[in-house]
């Protein structure tokens, strides 16, 4: 599919410019929309200062030139989100779109044409086309609204909201043997809610079959989903292999050598939407095999340390991703794929649970949080990862020590690495790892699609001493205690809307089914029946939202997206947030991916007492 021609008709530009100035927040109020995310607004302002890098309005981790080759990808993904469009009445869409467009225009003063184009590059396609045909009748439209006595608002019905929220939910219960579950993990719930189209987050969960333990991870991609996809497929194999004892590795190698059936290494727990790419499996397998062959040769005879294994696996995989892109592949599709993987990026937050030993390896700004139930029944949160971004002073410090002092000022700009990248550690993103020469060589020898992509060709500013980015994780080890009830792994889409304390409380109350709603007592107050009734109805609504969800992650997303200022799920708000067209969705939220792992306190207690 080709890039749509830049042809904003003069009429449109004219109505854009004659509208009076309104602040975006007020505008949101007019539209009955929540206030856009701060970062999204920042993105607008920041990006438009730099004419070269007009940015899509989402919380993109990375700023992308507008005429990017990503467009075809996005267009391919259109069917997924379009199911939302019929839900929105046409006028509403045009109202939202036109006003948003106008809003940017005013904010950014000078860039109207560019921006309008940026936003409406789908316009001539599919549904939007219809909206744009009556080019000059915006005023009619406005007038029509004026005449309408009661402006009809569109809301998703609760079942529609639920079907959107639950589309990606997945639950796994650790099976019991003889009526007993001896694993310290009871099971997990996971879910994701896209804001990008296609979603750039990935998730994985698997049980190690040759060693004990369970692996769970969330991966937040940027500049496309290719890298996140590859990491979600491959990382656990690398970790599992790193953990395997020497004999098992030998056994596996011999089996491969003699063409025998391979011992299964992982048992995956996947939602049907969590796909594996078939085409690359051979390539991925070969890289993995090379890895374990090296491990066999390196046989140190020592027992594998989980922490080391995690670090090695992360680094090795990133290395393999980089190498595969450099070497290329004779198959043109695969060649393009490995390049896309390498040029896009992904953060990873992976938990390994084995008995009471919980390891969390984190690269980037996803986060792992432990939910702890205090003796009084209340919930508190313990962080099990550090964000690798500009807010983490240690991380800023680390980056600075790794590069000459001359670069100190250009290293972190506007809270981004080299002014571009939000996470300070990531898989892929070879633009921040390879030397300029290597990048140029690969891009030039690469397929045409790659050459068409302005982003890949673009070298970050002040790029002097690569690599600037690493995939090495920080690993935190935690010994589980009976009061540790659950672990939440989530991408930053969750954490930027909710405080971890609220997350702990909401999940905790959901899992225990107990609501720490203070019982109402009339006491000496003067309360009328009507007042009491109103109060009780409100409380009931609050409780009922819990029972709609069978999945803790879904419940959390419902809160993350639908919480009003009082901390309760507001259906109206939820409905609006979910019915935003994909282009706007990114303004208001990021992709959210959540895994909630529930621990088995009895087993953990038994471990502690040395019974297991």
């Amino acid at each position: 599919m080709c890039v749509p021609p830049f042809c904003a008709p003069p009429q449109r530009r004219s109505w854009l410019s004659v509208r009076p100035f309104v602040l975006s927040n007020e505008l949101s109020a007019l539209l009955l929309l929540p206030v856009p995310r701060a970062s999204a607004l920042w993105m607008l302002a920041a990006s438009c200062c730099d004419r070269r890098m007009c940015v899509c309005p989402g919380p993109r981790r990375i700023a992308i030139p507008i005429r990017s080759s990503r467009l075809p990808l996005l267009s391919d993904a259109m069917p997924a989100p379009t199911h939302l469009f019929p839900l929105i009445r046409n006028c509403e869409i045009s109202r939202i779109c036109s006003t948003m467009c106008y809003c940017h225009h005013k904010h950014l003063c000078c860039l109207s044409s560019h921006f309008a184009h940026g936003h409406f590059r789908y316009a001539p396609q599919k549904k939007f086309a219809a909206l744009y045909r009556p080019k000059e009748n915006f005023y009619q439209f406005i007038h029509a609204r004026d005449y309408a006595s009661t402006p009809q608002r569109f809301y998703l019905t609760p079942p529609q909201v639920n079907s959107i929220l639950k589309a990606n939910e997945y639950s796994f219960k650790v099976p019991e043997f003889d009526g007993k579950n001896v694993s310290s993990v009871l099971g997990f719930d996971s879910n994701q809610l896209p804001a990008n189209a296609p979603i750039e987050d990935r998730r994985s969960a698997a049980t190690c079959l040759q060693t004990r333990g369970m692996l769970l991870g969330v991966f937040d991609g940027h500049a496309g989903c290719a890298c996140a996809q590859a990491v979600s497929e491959r990382l656990f194999y690398y970790i599992a292999v790193s953990l395997l004892p020497h004999e098992t590795l030998l056994e596996i190698e011999n089996a491969v050598e003699s063409g025998r059936a391979l011992l299964p290494i992982l048992q995956w727990h996947k939602h049907p939407n969590d796909y594996f790419s078939k085409e690359a499996s051979k390539l991925y397998f070969n890289s993995l095999r090379t890895y374990w062959q090296e491990l066999i040769d390196l046989n140190s005879g020592e027992t594998t340390d989980v922490k080391e294994a995690l670090i090695n696996a992360f680094k090795r995989l990133d290395n393999d991703i980089s190498l595969e892109a450099q070497v290329g592949d004779p198959n043109s599709f695969l060649n393009y794929l490995v390049l896309r993987v390498a040029f896009s990026g992904a953060t990873a937050c992976v938990a390994h649970v084995d008995g009471v030993d919980l390891h969390v390896a984190n690269t980037g700004d996803s986060r792992a949080m432990l939910g702890v139930q205090e003796e009084d029944g209340s919930w508190s949160a313990v962080n099990l990862s550090y964000d690798h971004n500009a807010q983490n002073e240690r991380e800023v410090e680390r980056v600075k020590t790794e590069h000459p002092k001359s670069e100190e000022k250009s290293l972190v700009k506007q809270d981004r690495l080299l002014g571009l990248l939000m996470p300070f550690r990531a898989f892929g993103d070879v633009k921040f790892k390879w030397s300029i020469e290597l990048q140029k060589r690969v891009v030039e020898s690469g397929p045409d699609q790659l050459n068409d992509n302005e982003y890949t060709k673009f070298i970050p500013p002040n790029y002097h001493t690569p690599p600037y980015l690493t995939a090495e994780p920080e690993v935190i080890h935690h010994k589980l205690r009976p009061q540790d009830k659950f672990l939440v792994l989530a991408t930053d889409g969750l954490w930027e809307t909710m405080h971890r304390q609220d997350v702990a409380r909401i999940v905790g109350e959901y899992l225990t089914g107990v609501h720490h709603q203070q019982p109402i007592a009339v006491g000496g107050y003067k309360v009328t029946l009507g007042q009491m009734h109103g109060l009780l109805t409100e409380r009931r609504a609050k409780i009922s939202s819990v029972f709609e969800d069978q999945n803790a992650a879904t419940h959390l997303i419902r809160h993350a997206v639908g919480n009003n200022e009082f901390g309760t799920v507001d259906h109206e708000r939820l409905s609006k947030m979910l019915s935003l067209p994909e282009e706007l969705a990114r303004m208001y939220r990021d992709d959210i991916t959540i895994i909630v792992v529930q621990f088995n306190s009895h087993v953990i207690g038994a471990y502690q007492n040395g019974e297991l």
Partner: protein, 878 residues
């Protein structure tokens, strides 16, 4: 607590003499002052000083038993009695409950005058609202029943409701029932008044004395152990309310009192701006699950929510009744319902939400009577939140029971012996009461089955029958088949199937009945209570001859149908007894007789080690083969001739069926149809069932259920114990003289009473009514308890009814009495009196013409049978 203070003031104002000791105590405020010592001995010890305990004491004293001690662990009327809403309502669907409530109402009305204690009795009347037509029907049924009991009552329109109560929103009402004589009382004061009167009559009352357990020797109460010493006594009365279950289980010999407490909430408000008048009627809105009464110018409103909160399941714990928390979130649906009914109350200020636990029983009826295991141990508890309404009447019946040996009314529906140990599981009780409490407000339609606490006792064929579409009901914990839904046919959901009209299973049961009439059906009747009585010598025969009215000295292999009567000639049990050998008998009684009959036999059989009685209910699976082809099936399976010449009716033989030996085959069907009962040792049950079904295939065999059985037996005018027969019905009154052998050569229980009846005639007569102008499809169906009118005058009530598929008419069974037109005195009922009347049956206020008959349509059925026999012989010739 406001109520409490109020009550205290008046309590002291009354100044009864038994109070003085307690007063000393409270005045000094220390435990040092010696309370009045307990007596060492008393005739009766009552445990519990609530409404039931004081009522029993009051009535015992009235009946002349003055050596009575009442013990209360806390203070009098301090439990549920103090907290309850104080509504006296006579609108009760069960006749005995209605009578108790009516008596209570009359008792409370004159109590203040009698005792001087202010009871706060106000005759406000009550209005029961109907939001749906079905609800109105159920109210009309109650109204018919109230009217014939002499309680004024009328069905009124929504507009009249608005006139009666200024606040009610009537827009969603279809009608209402107004009972003008219903009243409000201060419940605690009523209890105190009863205590005052009792103590004046000599009853000793001791507060702050708790009973730890009851001493039992040789199955009799001998004394009571308290925290203040031992009291020797002959009778103990457990009126401990929600603690009754636990108290019953505290002794060495447990007495099972199946009840369980649930939290119950009601709301108190400050007075309205224009305070409600004192006599504004109490409003009951069952569809909204609430009741609303006037309370000091404001309102008191509570209800029975759909999701009750059971409590005290683990027994009595630290959570005291006074410390229960208000739970507004739980009350929310009831509050919504209240504001919907009375929208003007929105601005009314809340005073308090009271949490008043109430105890509930597994079948929504209260528990009274003597323990089946311990003689002299009486119980009155489990009031299902109607303690004030029932308290007076229930106390009276129990006192009569203790003094006279039997109450003056048939209280079998409330008898403790309707339960056994199988209802004693805490889990069962907890689950069941969660169903029972909402049921108080639910629509009570005919043929309702409980949904919880099921599948406890089942036949070995349960799964097999279930797979063939069986729909189940429960009796005494035993699952019994109602009917079989043919494959591919769906019935309505549980909720939708609630109807007062023609039910959805009508055609299904019809085809089962047809099959019973024309071919052969199998009904699993394993739930029947089965006893074996045997002895080394003649003892079994001798004692049974004494206990039963029919002559049991029959040749071995004969089955005798007989009543087990009480001194008044009334049926304590109605059973079939097979003489297995010279010295052993096999006795079959109704399912719910298991506890009662066992207790009766234990109490009446002589203590003789040579005489053994065994409950073999669990040992046998019973299959009833009904129909003209049953004989063919059995003879093919046993290679034995089963024709009437070889196997006459009322005959019993152990024989083999299929491969299985030792099957007791009896030529009775409990329906009047030809056929056999098979009593099969349970390990053979599946085998015999399979054989019967396989062999029966060519005779068109099919499964059938109890609804078919019921239709068959009612059209044949067969009375069933527990439904038609009770302890107040004699064989003479139901046309069963032939089952009584007055000249059998020896005395038997009830003989004198029957002789007298034979000479003087009976005062009621069991009669069969065929509804004449009743449209089965369009009209309300009769159930039981419908008033019978003869020449426009009330003469009695129906006891059971069914649609007869043979007559294509509804048949009702019931008793006809003869009241003198002027004095109302009961007169002898003669055959002429029955035959010379024009009858009508009142179904929910609508009267249907009925034809009365004293004998079944023998000719109609006899012809049919002869025809069958012809076919039968024809087949055999082939």
């Amino acid at each position: 607590m406001f109520l409490r203070l109020l009550a205290d003031v008046r309590w002291r104002g009354a100044d009864p003499k038994w109070r003085s000791a307690a007063r000393c105590r409270s005045a000094s405020g220390t435990a040092e002052t010696q309370p009045v010592p307990l007596p060492a001995e008393a005739r009766v010890v009552i445990c519990g000083g609530g409404i039931t305990g004081t009522s029993v004491a009051y009535h015992l004293a009235k009946l002349g038993w003055k050596d009575v001690v009442l013990l209360e662990q806390g203070r009098l009327a301090a439990g549920t009695t103090r907290f309850c809403a104080g509504i006296v309502s006579t609108a009760r669907p069960v006749s005995i409950e209605l009578k108790m409530a009516d008596y209570s109402n009359k008792l409370y009305q004159q109590l203040e005058q009698e005792t001087g204690v202010q009871t706060g009795y106000v005759k406000t009347g009550s209005v029961s609202l109907a939001q749906t037509q079905d609800r109105l029907i159920s109210l009309k049924r109650i109204a018919s029943s109230l009217n014939v009991s002499g309680i004024p009552c009328e069905i009124i329109s929504p507009k009249q409701v608005a006139q009666l109560h200024p606040l009610i929103n009537i827009h969603d009402l279809v009608g209402a029932m107004y009972v003008p004589e219903d009243a409000l009382v201060l419940s605690a004061n009523v209890s105190l008044a009863l205590a005052t009167a009792a103590s004046r009559n000599g009853v000793q009352i001791h507060e702050r004395t708790s009973v730890s357990h009851v001493s039992v020797q040789k199955g009799r109460v001998t004394g009571v152990e308290t925290d203040r010493g031992h009291i020797k006594c002959q009778y103990f009365v457990n009126c401990a309310g929600q603690w009754a279950y636990e108290l019953g289980h505290s002794g060495e010999e447990p007495v099972n009192i199946p009840l369980h407490a649930c939290e119950h909430f009601y709301l108190l408000t400050h007075p309205l701006k224009d305070p409600l008048a004192n006599n504004v009627p109490t409003v009951v809105d069952p569809d909204g699950r609430i009741y609303i009464r006037n309370w000091q110018g404001g309102i008191l409103s509570g209800g029975f929510e759909k999701n009750p909160k059971p409590l005290f399941t683990e027994g009595r714990n630290q959570l005291e009744i006074h410390n229960l928390q208000e739970d507004w979130d739980h009350f929310e649906p009831l509050l919504s319902s209240l504001l919907r009914r009375m929208p003007n109350l929105e601005a009314l200020q809340i005073m308090q939400l009271v949490n008043c636990p109430e105890s509930f029983t597994p079948d929504m009826r209260c528990i009274m009577g003597e323990s089946p295991t311990v003689r002299g141990y009486f119980v009155l508890a489990g009031m299902n939140s109607a303690g004030i309404s029932y308290g007076g009447g229930a106390g009276k019946y129990l006192a009569e029971w203790m003094v006279n040996g039997y109450p003056s009314e048939n209280v079998w529906p409330l008898d403790l012996k309707r339960f056994g140990t199988l209802q004693s599981s805490r889990t069962f009780l907890r689950h069941r009461v969660m169903e029972v409490m909402p049921l108080i407000c639910d629509l009570k339609v005919p043929r309702w089955d409980f949904q919880t606490g099921r599948q406890l006792r089942t036949s070995p064929l349960y799964d097999r029958l279930d797979a063939q579409g069986a729909r189940w009901m429960e009796k005494h914990g035993f699952e019994r088949v109602k009917y079989f839904v043919p494959p591919g046919k769906d019935l309505l959901d549980l909720d939708q199937s609630k109807t007062f009209y023609k039910p959805d299973w009508f055609d299904i049961v019809g085809s089962e009945v047809k099959c019973c009439k024309e071919a052969v059906c199998v009904i699993d009747m394993s739930s029947f209570t089965k006893f074996e009585i045997s002895s080394t010598g003649d003892q079994a025969l001798q004692s049974l001859q004494y206990l039963f009215s029919n002559d049991l000295d029959v040749p071995v292999g004969h089955v005798v149908h007989t009543g087990m009567l009480n001194e008044n000639g009334g049926y304590e049990n109605d059973c079939s007894i097979a003489r297995l050998s010279k010295r052993s008998f096999f006795m079959i009684s109704p399912t719910d007789q298991q506890v009662h009959c066992w207790a009766w036999l234990k109490n009446h059989l002589p203590e003789d080690s040579n005489l053994t009685i065994e409950d073999v209910t669990w040992k046998y699976t019973a299959l009833n083969l009904i129909g003209p082809r049953a004989v063919d099936v059995l003879s093919e399976l046993s290679y034995a001739p089963m024709t009437p010449e070889h196997f006459p009716s009322f005959f019993c033989k152990e024989m083999s069926v299929g491969y299985a030996n030792g099957i007791r085959v009896m030529s009775i069907t409990h329906t009047g149809e030809p056929g056999f009962m098979l009593y099969i040792p349970i390990e053979y049950a599946l085998h015999v069932y399979n054989e019967v079904m396989n062999m029966g295939q060519k005779y068109g065999i099919r499964n059938a259920g109890y609804y078919a059985l019921r239709s068959l037996r009612i059209e044949k005018f067969f009375a069933f114990w527990g439904q038609d027969l009770d302890a107040f019905t004699t064989p003479m009154e139901c046309g069963r003289e032939f089952q009584v052998k007055l000249e059998k050569g020896m005395e038997f229980v009830g003989q004198e009473a029957l002789l007298e009846q034979k000479q003087n005639g009976v005062y009621k007569r069991f009669t069969m009514f065929i509804l004449e102008d009743h449209d089965t499809d369009m009209d309300l169906w009769p159930w039981w308890g419908e008033p019978i009118f003869r020449n426009g005058r009330y003469v009695g009530k129906t006891t059971s009814s069914a649609y007869s598929y043979t007559l294509e008419r509804h048949v009702c069974l019931g008793f006809v009495q003869h009241f003198d037109e002027k004095t109302g005195e009961e007169l002898v009922v003669t055959t002429d009196f029955i035959n010379q009347g024009e009858y009508e049956i009142d179904i929910a206020g609508q009267r249907f013409q009925a034809k009365a008959k004293l004998y079944p349509f023998s000719s109609l059925f006899a012809q049919r049978r002869r025809k069958d026999e012809v076919e039968l012989s024809g087949y055999q010739r082939e």
